[in-house]
Structures are given as C-alpha cells and as structure tokens.
Subunit: 199 residues, 2 copies
C-alpha cells in the first residue's frame, strides 16, 4: 500500500519488525500514533531510546539489569543455595511472578539448536558451572521450555551439573490448570498419565 | 509484574496504550526491543518523532499530508468531479488500494455520535459543502462504515448534499467475497437478499 507518505510507510515497516505484528496491525498501530498526543509520542520514543541505552545484562546471572547486577542478584533476602535456569529474561519474570520461588536465577540466552548453529559455547553456561562451584549451590532447577530444544538443553546441562555433585530438578510436566482434556495434546496426556499423583 | 526495571515497565505501559495491545503482548514487544539492534531502535524512535512532527492534514480534504495538500489532491490525473467521503484517513487508503476509484476524497475525522458528544460541528463538514459548491462535483460517494453511527452520519450528509443538487451514492451492501454464509450476520443476509442481483 502506497500512502504517498514515506514517513508513515517507514513507521509501518518498523512496527512490522516487532514479533507477531503483521501488515494490518502495523498499519493500525502507525495510524494510532498519528492520533496520539505529541507529548505522549515524544515520551514513547524517549523511553525506547532509554531502554536500549540503559538496560544491559547482569554480570552474574545474565538477567536484565540497569547496572552491574540485577535486582534479584542484589536482593540479599533471596535464597542463595538454589538456582533456576531459564532460556530468556522474559521466562524469569513469569516464573518469579508466581511467587513460588525465592531463589536466584541463571539466564542462558538461548537453547542448544544445532540446526541454527547454536552450540554450548553460545549459551551462558561457563558462568553457570562457575556459580555452582563457587556459590555453594545445593539445587539447580532447569526451567527451559518444554520443547524439543528446551529438553535437549536441559539434559545437556543436567549431565554437566550432576558431575559437580549438585541436585538437578525440573518443573513437573502434566495437565495445565484450567485446561480442557479435549484440547490437550497427546504428549501432555501421555506424560500426565505416566506421572499420575495420588489424590 | 515488577521487573525491578522502571524503564522496561514504562515501555510496557507505552505499548499498552496502542490499540489492541494488552499486557502480555506489550511485554513481548518490550522484550523484543531489548533484543533489537541499537541502530534499529534509534531509527524506530526517530521515525516515531518525525511522523508526529511532519504529518498533518491536507487543508483541502482532511487526508494525511506532509505539506499543505495531500498526494491525492495534488494528483492532477484524478477525476475532480467525484468525491468519496470517509470517516478516517485509514479508510481512504483501504478504498484507494482497491484501484477501483480514481476520484478525490473527503475525510470527516469522525462520525456523528450524540452519546459521545460528537455533533455535525465536530466533523469536517463545512469544507465538504464548500467543495461540492465550488469544485464542480457531480457525485459524492459516502463511504462511512456500515455501522449505526456510520449510517446515521451518511443519511445526515446525504440530506445536506442533495439540496445542492449533487448525486449522492454509497458502496453496495451484501455478502463479503470469500465469506461463508454460515458465519455471515443476519443483517447482512437480509440486505443481500433484498438487493439480490440477476446472474
């Protein structure tokens, strides 16, 4: 679609680069910017720049951080003897929001994926081994995604860590709460039946 | 969700102000900005600012324009005797992309909506009347949305314009192409049967 407005077209293209945003949504978002208050758009643009400039990775765990260490690594009330390994910072926030876990984290920044050329050296693994050795860690929960790549990565890490004498676990697999059996996939059903629990 | 990162939280809030973007999508978009190349984010922010600064409304038809007149009003090959009235610039682009219409446009910037306090004075109507009188317009197609407000607005405008002796039409109503009868609403079915065409 040619708007005769190169700037608007450029904005649509920028929105299209965001995940899950197609042509139509990008167009709607671009038009909504035109309807917005000027001050609000300036603040939006400013925040984009600031976020990119000021947020980096925690030098200890790989989580997002505005300084050297992230808020979780700085928090002395956290249990320092347990680590939860995740693929990405976004996973960490979802797990942490549950309130169930009060230990620390370690972010891999990816999963093993030979087809995409991602090997162990490309993940934040060396630092994980060092932390387990040096921080007196007693348990590592490997919370990679329950996908083929996630499971492969999980097994790979478990093998390394077990040699260091640490307990290695992962979150339970089974029926998601609030789901309807009719719509749950066969793999999940199989796993849920295998791991059935006493009532 | 508290990220311990006020900037990231602010960015999520900005994304949430965009139409159709909820908390989860806003979070995914904000995280994707962190994964993006720095130069790309700067360009995105710059484009946001430029769009808001440089794009205004055509002084003749109300369409988006980077200068005094929009590209369509400046285009001398357009048929100057026919006008198509739309609610918003976004509607204009969708109609124009069909390639079916090569006349000019007039953008109302809204619809009559007494409940929201939008009356005739709030729409770009005075200029429409003046254009019909002064530009030798022979036909006005009123292409407001086929909603209650759109139809009310359409009838209101038609009444005014007919007094000026101009032909007033609107796009046909009926079954959308590629639709499935099973999923078409009753109002559309009724209209499609009333207005049935010979094969």
């Amino acid at each position: 679609m040619n708007y005769g407005l190169p700037l608007l077209k450029a904005l649509v293209e920028h929105f299209k680069k965001l995940p899950g945003i197609g042509e139509k949504t990008a167009r709607r978002l671009a038009f909504s910017i035109l309807d917005m208050d000027g001050a609000e758009v300036r603040e939006f643009a400013e925040t984009l720049l600031q976020v990119k400039k000021s947020i980096g990775f925690c030098t200890r765990c790989g989580n997002l951080a505005e300084g050297e260490l992230c808020e979780i690594c700085k928090d002395e009330r956290r249990n320092g003897t347990i680590l939860c390994v995740v693929e990405r910072p976004a996973d960490l926030y979802v797990l942490d929001a549950s309130g169930q876990y009060r230990g620390r984290y370690h972010v891999l920044h990816g999963v093993l994926s030979p087809l995409d050329g991602v090997g162990p050296k490309d993940l934040n693994l060396e630092r994980l081994e060092r932390r387990v050795r040096e921080e007196g860690i007693q348990e590592v929960i490997i919370a990679t995604n329950p996908s083929i790549e996630g499971d492969t990565t999980s097994l790979y890490i478990a093998r390394i860590l077990k040699k260091l004498g640490v307990k290695v676990t992962r979150p339970a697999r089974g029926l998601p709460l609030g789901s309807s059996l009719e719509y749950v996939d066969r793999g999940t059903i199989t796993r849920a039946l295998e791991n059935r629990e006493p009532i």
